[in-house]
């Protein structure tokens, strides 16, 4: 069984991708067969944080379907509009009009249509891209713009990622999740061994962290938390630490605000290679050590082969 670690946040822009890319880098450097999974399929950036890579495979995924109406035979009874639970059909000048972006392809409209004039066509859900980098493989999901089935694409991306290296026993999968708590995030969390929440020291970030933790608790996954840019609002750090302590979450560490982080992005070089000795780089290294200890204590690292 691979070791699967998911990085989540609730709120966007707290530093998930910075941490995920660093974990890919560090596990890979320790000779673990490591695959980074970009599960933020609406805005995938993990490959950028590793400085890019060689695109070795692209697969188009056609797992979505949308309803289409044969207007020659449609009697405009509008039964479909009433039946659709996703508000994906509207009345456009007296005709039922399917809004493709909102159509779930579930089939309800076709079942209720008395004339049986609604059929379904397969459309592209998105793409799966496999990159080879100096630090390991990255598997990225890329949802078609405006598409609905992001959770489905995350499931497919995760399955694909497991097979890239032939699924060796000691492989490590690092999942960079989308922000939020919705369908793609649930699909990213399910079945993982450890979840890491990245939070900034702000009320809005903690509020979102609380919401994503509700989700993680539901799946009974051991959880750690990293406070990113802790020194931009130090008075709030204590509040997060208290919440972490009261909820059985491991405090994995704190990363200071450090211009080395944006500078490493701008240079397209991973943080730990660009500025290993920067204050942020050192903090990430300490977090990695603490994480390894926590995983060992949980008996999870034997899964990873160490």
């Amino acid at each position: 069984m691979p070791l699967q670690i998911v990085v989540v946040s609730g709120k966007g822009g707290t530093g998930k991708t910075t941490l995920s890319s660093s974990l890919v880098y560090l596990f890979g450097a320790q000779k673990f067969p490591t695959v980074g999974i970009d599960a933020d399929v609406e805005a995938p950036d993990l490959i950028l944080a590793l400085g890019g890579g060689k695109l070795i495979n692209v697969e188009e995924i056609y797992e979505s379907s949308i309803a289409t109406i044969d207007y020659m035979r449609c009697t405009k009874c509008m039964e479909c509009i009433n039946a659709c639970q996703f508000r994906a059909i509207r009345n456009l000048k007296g005709y039922p009009d399917i809004i493709y972006e909102l159509c779930e392809g579930c089939g309800t409209c076709a079942i209720v249509c008395p004339e049986k004039v609604i059929s379904f066509k397969r459309i592209m859900t998105g793409r799966i891209e496999v990159y080879q980098t100096r630090y390991g493989y990255i598997v990225t999901g890329r949802l078609e713009l405006g598409r609905r089935n992001s959770g489905l694409l995350v499931d497919i991306v995760r399955n694909k990622a497991r097979t890239i290296l032939g699924n060796p026993d000691n492989q490590v999968l690092i999942i960079d999740a989308a922000p939020g708590i919705g369908c793609p995030v649930i699909s990213s969390i399910v079945g993982t061994d450890y979840a890491i929440i990245v939070s900034e020291p702000t009320e809005s970030s903690l509020n979102s962290a609380r919401r994503v933790f509700e989700l993680i608790k539901h799946f009974n996954i051991p959880t750690g938390l990293v406070i990113n840019k802790y020194d931009i609002n130090e008075s709030f750090v204590k509040i997060i630490e208290n919440w972490v302590g009261n909820n059985g979450i491991d405090l994995l560490g704190k990363i200071p605000f450090d211009r080395a982080v944006p500078e490493s992005y701008a240079s397209m070089i991973p943080l730990l290679e660009f500025a290993r000795n920067s204050s942020a780089g050192q903090a990430v290294l300490r977090i990695y050590e603490v994480l390894l200890e926590k995983l060992k204590a949980l008996g999870k690292l034997s899964k990873g082969g160490m």
């Binding site: 639970q85 579930c106 405006g146 598409r147 919705g182 809005s204 992005y265 701008a266």
Partner: protein, 292 residues
């Protein structure tokens, strides 16, 4: 003036400053208009109430269909199981179907295919609607309940409820979630103008280009607001290049400012008396009005 001009605030990347811009733009617009509506459609992580420092009031639930099977009348034909697109109903022919609630999308296929009509409609709350009012600013906020997958439904319903009120307002500002999927499509559908808020990093540029791709598809007039324009280590050129590629422009640069960050941390923007910060967003509001 045209009634109810709708301004969408999006950007692709998380944490680029969408909410900061949306909230402050709405506050600044109250100076130029009688009534402004702010819609927080980031239903997975709604935080506008925190940024505004306002007490929110729950005004309703957002519900979805859930099947309830009248067990004693079920003939165990498994039609519902076979047709359930999410595989949320499980069981073999001859067995009573079991519902895995967390997989149910609420599509209602089972209800319609059951030949005995023994699946009846239950409703489950998948989200909440909140309202806040401060002087001539009103806020409608949607929030997905943790554990439910239907973030798109909650976004659609939030926008729907807000847009029903549109005639009462001069300006409607829609704050969206990060991303470029269906929930962004739903949130920005009513927009007359979209502001794409981004930051000067390769990640900001990448996600911005995806959003601009979606906006092109939706035929929405979109302008870029560059947040943290002079941030340490930032690269503004990346954003200007994307702007050119998508035939739009950066209409405003928000400086990287300690003051804005402090206001953000304190989280009570309606009460902030900081003239420096307020002036920045008043300028942005005037700029946006020029474009309308």
């Amino acid at each position: 003036m045209r009634r109810h001009v709708v301004i969408g605030v999006s950007g692709g990347k998380g944490g680029s400053g969408k909410s900061t811009v949306a909230v402050n733009l709405a506050i600044s617009l109250t100076r130029y208009a009688n009534r402004v509506l702010l819609v927080d459609s980031d239903v997975e992580s709604p935080v506008d109430h925190i940024l505004l420092g306002l007490e929110r009031m729950k005004i309703g639930d957002i519900e979805a269909f859930r099947p309830r099977i009248i067990e004693e009348k079920c003939i165990k034909c498994s039609r519902c199981v076979d047709n359930c697109p999410e595989h949320a109903l499980v069981g073999l022919p001859g067995q009573l179907p079991v519902l895995m609630g967390e997989l149910c999308s609420g599509c209602k296929v089972c209800f319609y295919v059951c030949p005995m009509k023994v699946i009846i409609e239950d409703r489950v709350s998948i989200g909440s609607l909140y309202e806040m009012v401060h002087e001539n600013l009103k806020v409608i906020q949607g929030e997905l309940n943790p554990g439910f997958r239907q973030y798109v439904n909650v976004t659609v319903d939030t926008i729907d409820v807000a847009m029903k009120l549109r005639d009462e307002f001069d300006y409607i500002v829609i704050d969206t979630a990060p991303g470029t999927g269906a929930s962004i499509y739903a949130a920005l559908s009513p927009a007359d103008l979209v502001l794409a808020v981004t930051e000067p990093t390769p990640l900001g540029a990448n996600d911005l280009s995806m959003l601009l791709g979606l906006m092109r598809k939706m035929e929405k007039k979109t302008y870029i607001v560059l947040n943290k324009a002079d941030m340490p280590g930032g690269k503004k050129d990346l954003i200007y290049d994307v702007a050119e590629r998508y035939n739009t422009s950066v209409i405003f640069e928000i400086p990287y400012s300690e003051q804005i960050m402090q206001v953000y941390f304190r989280g009570h923007m309606v009460k902030t008396g900081d003239d420096g910060v307020r002036k920045i967003f008043d300028d942005l509001a005037r700029k946006v009005l020029d474009f309308l």
